[in-house]
């Protein structure tokens, strides 16, 4: 079970990262809704999505750091906003996680509403 979850997170991380590069930030809620629709019978798919989105965006930040002075940029940008660099990084990651979590829950709820609860779903979704 754990291995399956980790695999899901890994694949979803790559998916979030690639989709963000191609589509921009909208990729996160879009992909998460889709994830919610597809995993209506899964256990806590919203947590998987949130973790993957956070990791996906972190991955992109790390990749950017290899391409240019992201520390200086974070310092300047955070300074403009009156926050610390770390808070700005945290804000970006938290934003992706919040979008992914909420979009998955909403997507899953929509799926459940449309198709009804699947076998074994009752009692699983608190």
């Amino acid at each position: 079970m754990m291995r399956r979850t980790l695999l899901q997170i890994l694949l979803l991380t790559v998916a979030f990262a690639l989709a963000t590069v191609i589509m921009g930030w909208w990729a996160v809620p879009a992909l998460a809704v889709l994830w919610g629709l597809l995993t209506r019978s899964e256990r806590h798919p919203e947590l998987v999505a949130a973790a993957a989105a956070g990791l996906g965006w972190s991955l992109l930040l790390v990749w950017t750091a290899t391409q240019g002075p992201i520390g200086e940029l974070a310092s300047r940008a955070a300074g403009v906003m009156g926050i610390s660099s770390l808070a700005l990084v945290g804000m970006a990651i938290a934003f992706s996680m919040a979008l992914a979590w909420s979009a998955t829950v909403v997507g899953r709820t929509g799926a459940l509403g449309a198709w009804g609860r699947g076998k074994g779903e009752e009692g699983r979704v608190a």
Binding site: G68, P69, L73, V80, S102, V106
Partner: protein, 839 residues
């Protein structure tokens, strides 16, 4: 529980999507901003100079190579002049796109599209004076086949090529914050820049406050306090004197305040036309500086003939002072077209060529002339609220009008104005009255002349090319390899009707009051190879009125800087490039040399130490000063505080009843003049009816008060708080005023009246420093307070500031051809071609 969770998720998703796509208030949408692939983070990926970029400018005639040297200066090697200009547009856009955009929007009055209602007043003002309209008219009037229009188009093609090919990471840092995209650059926007510079340098509304001074103290006194001829003559065009001439005359007593007349009311209300500023970088404009007082800003340039230099070659220094911003107003570049052009220097982003610099034969720089090139005319209109006609030569003339619409950051229409024009210029409302504005800046600029001059082969050719330059008027200094030096006040200077005086608001109902033409070029302030062996300008009165009494302007700045640079140049007959470099931040101050002895004499003459211990202490402290504004000196603060008090106490007659500050303040050379007349009535303080104060009393009291102020604000003199570099620092604001992108509290050497004047607010200063030695090979040294890149994450954003603060210059690399570029000194390159394949 499930419902609650779903509810929370729905609300969170809705909120996230809303702030992600719309933002909150003026804040940019969060989504595109925080996006790690395409948002603000991506800017880090384009922070550095490209090591080997290949790109297309479709209109190029051939391949162009751009090599960046170790100072991040692009050297552009092209085969045609048009291609070199296209490449300049490209590299400037790459490094300074946001700057191009904001200065265009500011001129066009479109900042509220970014800043909402915060910027609306500024936009309305900008549009009311017709800068963008005049640029559009000038552009429309250009011959489609002219060299100028080719130049403007070539530059725009370069800028557009960059913006068309931009990747997400190339979008400048500021746009993700604003949630906006760049304006598309059009050829006419280069003319917007010229108008913008005209507004910065030549928008002086002295007519308005002078009328109020006349109302308060009478015309005779007003004329004497704000004279056409400065009482200290150290003109740009040498007058044959070996030093400054002091034409000191007693000031006539103030007249009795009279009832305000229409012109006074109009003039007073015109205060509204000093633009309300929202951007710190523009906060001290020429308009603000125009309200009398001492202009502590100022540009310098000087040149030395070979017979007074150590190496026997002509030397030239350029030192233009402007509002300091990050990124800097200047961008350093080198343009090479074999056989056609080989020019190095600085351009202003938006200008299709080098503005100040040098080529293989000639070097040049400019200072602002500060001539009176703007007049107001009091107009009679047919309707107070919605005028459609104005009265001229016994008949009604139709006003030209057009509607200006203003939109906010959301694209909503927030205001509509009708801007009206007489044949003279824009009509501005002042209370219930109207005035039209006649201003050289709203006419032709003469951009092509600037460009042609960069290809001059001699002083003579440079002057000839610059004959076509119009506005804003400048003092152009030039030197060549043949050992010639020259200076001329270039640009248009209007000839006025009647006595030619431009100090008063004229009635607009009679066209006989219109400008009668322009000064002939032979009358312009000018000197070629003067006997004294050097030339210098520092915004002082260009012509000695005893040599040429034609009206050129009024209320000229006190010539402290001119006196200082001329004094240095007179004293040194073996000038070296190093000395030229040091002069930029020379701590000597001609003002202090006049006023310090006056304070000390007054203190010793007025009182004994026992009865006035504070005065004695102030005099003791001031006497310790060597009158040099070094960073470590601890006495300039006392002197400046005393000077402030001296001005306040002396000019109390200029404070209108009920007001708490003077309506205008005469320059410090007027105070220097007054020192010669110890019993002049202006020394008397009008509030002390029973006592008649004299010079020494006011001087002593000012010095004593200065000590109290210095102690109050900076502590005891022995505690270290009086160190000049803790008191007077320079602040360089980012174009949007973001503190995190600005540089504050820079400890520069200099002070009010110095060659490095260091203004009170610290936001102005030496925007570019250059020394050129015109030997068989050109040698040059330069710097400016900033860096080549507009990207705050770049190591080239502010890397030159420390060099600038230290008063040092960098040696310039000036290769004649691409083969002279040492690969070890090349940090990056861009290959440009019409199809993306550079050579």
């Amino acid at each position: 529980m499930r419902k609650v969770r779903v509810g929370v998720a729905a609300v969170l998703l809705g909120s996230g999507l809303y702030v992600g796509s719309c933002g909150v208030g003026l804040a940019a949408p969060f989504g595109p901003f925080l996006d790690p692939a395409n948002g603000v983070w991506a800017v880090a990926r384009s922070a550095e100079i490209p090591t080997d970029l290949t790109a297309a400018i479709p209109s190029l005639d051939g391949a162009v190579s751009v090599l960046y040297d170790s100072r991040a200066v692009p050297h552009i090697f092209a085969t045609t002049v048009d291609d070199a200009v296209r490449a300049l547009g490209y590299v400037v856009a790459r490094d300074r796109l946001f700057q191009l955009d904001i200065q265009t929007r500011a001129t066009a009055g479109r900042l509220s599209e970014w800043g909402g209602s915060n910027a609306l007043r500024l936009d309305r003002f900008q549009r009311s004076i017709g800068l963008a309209r005049s640029a559009e008219r000038e552009f429309a009037a250009l011959d489609p086949g002219s060299a100028e229009i080719r130049l403007l188009h070539a530059y725009a093609e370069g800028v557009q090529a960059w913006t068309d090919q931009m990747r997400p990471q190339d979008l400048p840092f500021e746009y993700p914050f604003l949630g906006k995209r760049p304006l598309r650059w059009e050829p006419v926007h280069s003319l917007y820049l010229m108008k913008r510079m005209g507004y910065t340098l030549a928008y002086s509304s002295h007519d308005r406050w002078r009328a109020r001074v006349v109302g308060l103290v009478g015309k005779e006194a007003a004329d004497a306090l704000f004279p056409v001829a400065n009482p200290i003559q150290e003109p740009i065009q040498p007058n044959g004197d070996k030093g400054p001439r002091f034409d000191f005359q007693p000031l006539p007593p103030p007249g009795v305040p009279r009832m305000l007349e229409v012109e006074d009311v109009v003039a007073g209300t015109l205060g509204e036309f000093c633009p309300p500023t929202t951007l710190p970088s523009y906060r001290r404009t020429a308009c603000e500086m125009g309200v009398g007082g001492e202009v502590v800003l100022g540009s310098n340039n000087w040149a030395v003939s070979p017979n007074r230099t150590a190496n026997g070659y002509a030397l030239l220094a350029g030192d233009p002072h402007l509002s300091l911003t990050l990124p800097s107003i200047w961008y350093e570049a080198h343009m090479v077209v074999p056989g056609e052009m080989d020019v190095y220097g600085v351009t202003i982003p938006g200008s299709p060529g080098i503005v100040i610099g040098f080529n293989r034969d000639v070097a040049w720089s400019v200072t602002n002339t500060g001539a009176d090139v703007l007049d107001y005319f009091h107009e009679v209109v047919d309707d107070r609220d919605q005028p459609t006609r104005y009265w001229l030569d016994e008949e009604w003339r139709a006003l030209e009008s057009h509607v200006e619409k203003y939109f906010d950051h959301k694209g909503d229409l927030v205001a509509v104005d009708t801007i009206r024009f007489t044949h003279r210029g824009p009509l501005v409302r002042a209370g219930d009255e109207y005035m039209s504005l006649r201003w050289t800046v709203l006419d032709e600029s003469g951009t092509l002349a600037l460009f042609d001059a960069t290809r001059a082969g001699s002083v003579e050719q440079w002057l000839e090319a610059m004959a076509g330059y119009k506005a804003p008027a400048q003092n152009g200094i030039v030197a060549d390899r043949g050992g010639n030096i020259a200076i001329r006040s270039i640009g248009r200077y209007p000839i006025r009707a009647g006595n030619g005086d431009g100090t008063e608001i004229r009635p607009g109902a009679d066209s006989d009051n219109d400008w009668q033409g322009d000064w002939s070029l032979r009358d312009h302030p000018y000197s070629l190879n003067p006997e004294q062996g050097f030339l210098a300008s520092a915004n002082q009165q260009p012509l000695d009125p005893q040599v040429n009494g034609q009206y050129l302007g009024v209320n000229w700045p006190s010539p402290w800087r001119a006196m200082q640079i001329n004094s240095l140049l007179r004293a040194d007959s073996q000038v070296t490039p190093d000395a030229m470099s040091r002069y930029h931040t020379d701590p000597g101050n001609a003002k202090a040399d006049i006023f310090v002895p006056a304070f000390l004499n007054a203190a010793s003459a007025s009182v004994d130490a026992e009865s006035h211990p504070e005065l004695a202490e102030a005099a003791r402290l001031l006497a310790e000063w060597d009158r040099k504004y070094t960073r470590e000196n601890e006495r300039a603060v006392l002197f400046e505080a005393a000077m402030g008090e001296l001005s306040r106490r002396t000019w109390d007659e200029l404070v209108a009843a009920g007001a708490n500050r003077p309506i205008a303040t005469p320059g410090q050379s007027m105070l220097a003049q007054l020192l010669e007349f110890p019993d002049n009535v202006w020394w008397d303080h009008q509030r002390t009816v029973s006592v008649i104060e004299t010079r020494d009393f006011i001087l002593a009291a000012s010095l004593e008060a200065g000590l109290a102020i210095a102690r109050r604000e900076f502590g005891a003199p022995e505690d270290g708080g009086w160190r000049w570099d803790r008191v007077q620092t320079t602040n360089i604001h980012h174009l949007l005023g973001f503190p995190a992108l600005s540089a504050f509290d820079l400890p520069v050497q200099g002070g009010p009246g110095n060659l490095n004047p260091s203004s009170g607010s610290g936001t102005h200063g030496a925007s570019w420093r250059m020394v050129v030695e015109l030997g068989p090979e050109i040698s040059a040294w330069t710097t400016y307070p900033g860096g080549q890149s507009g990207n705050p994450a770049s190591s080239w954003y502010d890397n030159r500031i420390q060099t600038w603060v230290d008063g040092r210059l960098d040696a310039v690399f000036f290769p004649a051809g691409i083969e002279q570029m040492d690969p070890n000194d090349v940090i990056g390159s861009i290959r440009l071609g019409p199809d993306g394949r550079g050579r």
